[in-house]
């Protein structure tokens, strides 16, 4: 306590923060200290309380207990307006932008001003100033919907700086970026730290946290379990074990020899948004093989998943499933051809959150025996099926009649998996299957996939999580702007190669 740098009050101090949702505790007495020039890594699994803590700091949630001090002064942060006034800016994982407004409009909204009319000139000057200081340039009059993901994120950061942020919270900022875009983000973060700003970097990617942060807080179940000053020297394994509280074992993959082609796309094209539209996509997935699709979000993965799921009709091209042609888009036909589908948005596309779990679990096959005959439902068969699956997959639910929405993310995914695997699929399509799941649930999903692979089924795994793809896939196919730009056996794939392809560069 004699060091002078320690006597000045820190830029930000959070003390004893408690936040509970119903009976679930998100933060249990969290302390956090941040000084000018710090880049603090906030690590933890999904649900560890990182995002809740930051939402409290940004005024989105009210804490049940605890205090926040800015430069030693206790402050009340009731809403985001308070946070902005105190110099706290937040870049959310899901961008808070208006796609149909221009860059400048997105910057100016909510900015306190005295005049009746919008101050366009002043805003332009400030935008230029920020661009020069941090190397974050943006065209002011472009519509946000025309920006690439990386540019949208840059806009989010500029937005925070525009409002005078001294403390910048970045929530999973690299989730949707290419490795190269990530490098650019890191340069901006270093520039900010050098200018005396403080950055909080929320992530679960250990490599990135070690590369950019000055110190690290590891959270688990709402508590800080470790504060590490020398993060760059720490082993990833050590932090990971702190995060989930027990030793972790990477999934083990047995050798497998691919069999016949079970899913084939030939020169498939789709209509729609220019970037996401499929362009001459040709792809094969063999029995006993997991093919991973890598790419930045919005580069055709959604259309690919929809085409295989039978909900999107290609404008041209051919699709064969287990040797049978798929003549027109039909989810029913795809299911009859033995395709199991785990959609990206399990709440929005997969399940009926307001209905009983049993209904969610039979929905795709409710029109067929044993669930119905001649258009009449067999409630007994539906409940029996759900009960059996709940038991088989150890789904934690009050019962088949429990409202679907009351299940946790991991259990919802188990229910979806149970539903799709019950029809004994030969081809399984899974999009972002572990997004938002904790390590245990993700591990369960991964082990199921490897089991399917061992049974000789074909898996198409679309994921933005490169670690997941490297752990599971036999081949990694890279998509960019709706095209397949690379196809590498796992032995030849490296993060650098895949990252380069994701930006659109052809495979060398």
């Amino acid at each position: 306590m004699t060091d002078t740098s320690q006597t000045a009050p820190p830029l930000l101090a959070m003390r004893g923060i408690v936040k509970r949702f119903g009976t679930v505790s998100a933060c249990e007495g969290v302390d956090l200290t941040l000084r000018a020039g710090d880049v603090l890594g906030l690590l933890g699994e999904n649900g560890a309380g990182k995002t809740s803590l930051m939402n409290i700091l940004f005024g989105a949630y009210a804490a049940n207990d605890g205090a926040i001090l800015i430069e030693g002064q206790p402050v009340q942060i009731r809403d985001s307006a308070d946070a902005l006034r105190l110099g706290i800016g937040m870049v959310h994982q899901h961008f808070h932008l208006v796609p149909r407004h221009t860059v400048l409009e997105n910057l100016m909204v909510g900015r306190p001003g005295k005049s009746l009319a919008l101050d366009r000139a002043g805003a332009l000057a400030k935008l230029k100033e920020i661009a020069n200081a941090y190397g974050l340039g943006l065209e002011p009059d472009v519509l946000v919907q025309d920006l690439a993901i990386g540019e949208q994120q840059r806009l989010e950061i500029v937005k925070a700086l525009f409002r005078g942020a001294r403390i910048l919270i970045l929530d999973e900022p690299t989730a949707a970026l290419t490795p190269q875009e990530t490098e650019g983000l890191f340069r901006a973060v270093r520039a900010m730290a050098a200018r005396g700003l403080a950055v909080i970097f929320i992530s679960h990617k250990l490599e990135e946290v070690r590369a950019i942060t000055t110190h690290v807080l590891v959270m688990r179940q709402g508590r800080v379990v470790a504060e590490l000053r020398n993060a760059p020297e720490l082993s990833g394994r050590r932090i990971a074990e702190l995060m989930c509280g027990r030793p972790i074992q990477p999934p083990t993959k047995s050798a497998s020899t691919p069999g016949p082609v079970l899913l084939r796309l030939v020169e498939v094209n789709t209509a729609g948004g220019e970037r996401r539209r499929l362009k001459s996509v040709t792809l094969e997935v063999r029995a006993g093989e997991i093919v991973g699709i890598a790419g930045v979000a919005g580069n055709g993965q959604l259309d690919l998943a929809d085409v295989v799921a039978g909900v999107l009709e290609p404008v041209s091209g051919r699709i064969e499933i287990c040797g049978q042609p798929l003549d027109h888009a039909s989810p029913r036909r795809v299911q009859e051809l033995k395709v199991g589908r785990i959609p990206e948005d399990r709440m929005g596309t997969g399940l009926l959150t307001q209905s009983p779990l049993a209904d969610s679990m039979v929905m795709p096959r409710v029109h067929r025996p044993p669930f119905s005959r001649h258009g009449l439902l067999d409630r007994g068969a539906i409940l029996a099926f759900a009960r059996a699956q709940i038991e088989r997959y150890a789904i934690r639910a009050a019962g088949p009649r429990a409202r679907t929405g009351t299940l946790s993310g991991g259990n919802l995914q188990k229910a979806l998996l149970a539903r799709e695997l019950a029809s004994d699929p030969m081809v399984v399509l899974a999009a972002q299957p572990t997004r938002g799941l904790d390590v245990a649930a993700a591990g369960f999903v991964h082990s199921q996939f490897l089991k399917l692979r061992a049974e000789g089924r074909a898996l198409l795994l679309i994921s933005e999580d490169l670690e997941e793809l490297f752990a599971l896939a036999d081949r990694i196919v890279v998509m960019s702007a709706g095209r397949i730009v690379g196809d590498l056996p796992i032995a030849e794939a490296t993060v650098e190669k895949i990252g380069l392809m994701m930006t659109g560069a052809e495979a060398a």
Binding site: L352, T353, S355, P364, V366, G375
Partner: protein
């Protein structure tokens, strides 16, 4: 500081589903009592007349059941449609379509006697269904908002009907803009002698059972509910949203059309401008009060039948304008909608000392104090 907090609840217990509409009705009567006071009447007396007139004699009681008949059917029409989130506010027009079809068939001299009633029911239902299919097709084909079209089509049907009544359908005997009476053989059988209780009430009750069975025990009902709750998930599971919406619309329109058939076949025996005093709109209130449950529609319809018939007696006895029943409908709809929050949330009152109690997602900004 004290604030209200809403916590999500897992599933609503059965007693709550019955308690909620009753609570909503009490809230409504409480709110509306201010209007009775403004009208210079005694609240207890006015409500006594409102709720007791319909039961003051055999005739009045049966009249309430007569009144409830079209209301059950329009309530069912709305309940089915809203389940699929097909916003059918057009039961009024569909009712008129059914009534006109029934009056047309019922007046045909060329048809054999025995065929009149079945044909009236069939064609009336089909006419209502057709009138509801129009906005449904506009929605599925052209993405036209169904709320606006169903509302506008009510006016179109009303003017079409009055144009007919003023022209080709004008009753040559009376000269009034009413259609000629249907044939005696087409009149619905009376169930109780010396009353107006007609076959329609049996049709309405059977329809309620049928709709309940359809919604809970058939694949179509499953699909209607799935499309209403999450169209994306339903489509992903292989259901055709367009076809389900069309089927829902046809069913909903047919039910509303049957309400019109009953009014022509059992009550008025003709079509006239005042055929429906807003039965289609009251159907919305009834469906919501029933929580969109087909069996709940029956008591809800009887409740409003009481309110509508009782309002006349109340007005005569106390001078409170008969339109109190319209206000009650509006307030009841809003109260019930608000009450339905309780099926999803539990409400907690939190004070400053309650910071140790589990917190929950609040609907709006939290008001409670933060302890530093």
């Amino acid at each position: 500081m004290i604030g209200l907090r809403l916590e999500r609840r897992d599933a609503a217990p059965i007693w709550l589903r019955i308690a909620l509409p009753i609570g909503a009705i009490f809230l409504t009567l409480l709110v509306c009592s201010t209007l009775i006071l403004l009208a210079g009447a005694h609240v207890g007396e006015a409500y006594a007349h409102l709720f007791l007139t319909p039961f003051s004699g055999r005739f009045d009681t049966v009249e309430t059941a007569v009144k409830a008949t079209p209301l059950i059917l329009t309530g069912l029409a709305v309940a089915v449609a809203f389940r699929a989130k097909f916003w059918n506010i057009g039961a009024e027009g569909q009712l008129l379509a059914g009534a006109m079809a029934a009056a047309f068939i019922g007046g045909r001299a060329s048809l054999p006697d025995w065929s009149l009633e079945p044909l009236m029911i069939l064609c009336g239902g089909m006419a209502g269904a057709a009138w509801a299919l129009l906005p449904a097709v506009l929605r599925t084909r052209y993405k036209v908002d169904d709320v606006v079209t169903t509302l506008l089509l009510n006016f179109v049907m009303f003017y079409a009907m009055t144009a007919l009544l003023d022209g080709p359908w004008k009753d040559p005997l009376s000269g009034y803009p009413d259609s000629p009476d249907i044939r005696m053989e087409a009149e619905f059988p009376i169930l109780l002698r010396a009353t107006r209780l007609h076959l329609g009430i049996l049709i309405a009750l059977a329809a309620a059972l049928f709709v309940w069975f359809l919604m809970n025990r058939t694949v179509l009902g499953f699909a209607i509910k799935a499309v209403g709750e999450n169209p994306r998930a339903a489509a992903y599971a292989g259901m055709s949203i367009g076809r389900v919406i069309l089927a829902t619309a046809a069913l909903s329109g047919a039910l509303a059309g049957l309400a019109g058939v009953g009014e022509v076949g059992g009550v008025h025996f003709q079509v006239m401008a005042g055929l429906s005093p807003g039965y289609g709109y009251t159907g919305i209130v009834i469906a919501m009060l029933a929580g969109l449950n087909p069996l709940g529609v029956v008591p809800a319809a009887f409740f409003f039948a009481v309110v509508i018939t009782g309002a006349e007696g109340m007005s005569r006895a106390t001078g409170v304008p008969v339109y109190l029943s319209d206000v009650i409908q509006g307030v009841a709809l809003i109260s019930m909608l608000a009450a339905m929050l309780f099926t999803q949330y539990r409400i907690r009152i939190v004070g400053r000392l309650a910071t140790a109690s589990p917190a929950a997602p609040a609907l709006s900004r939290e008001v409670e104090g933060k302890t530093p």
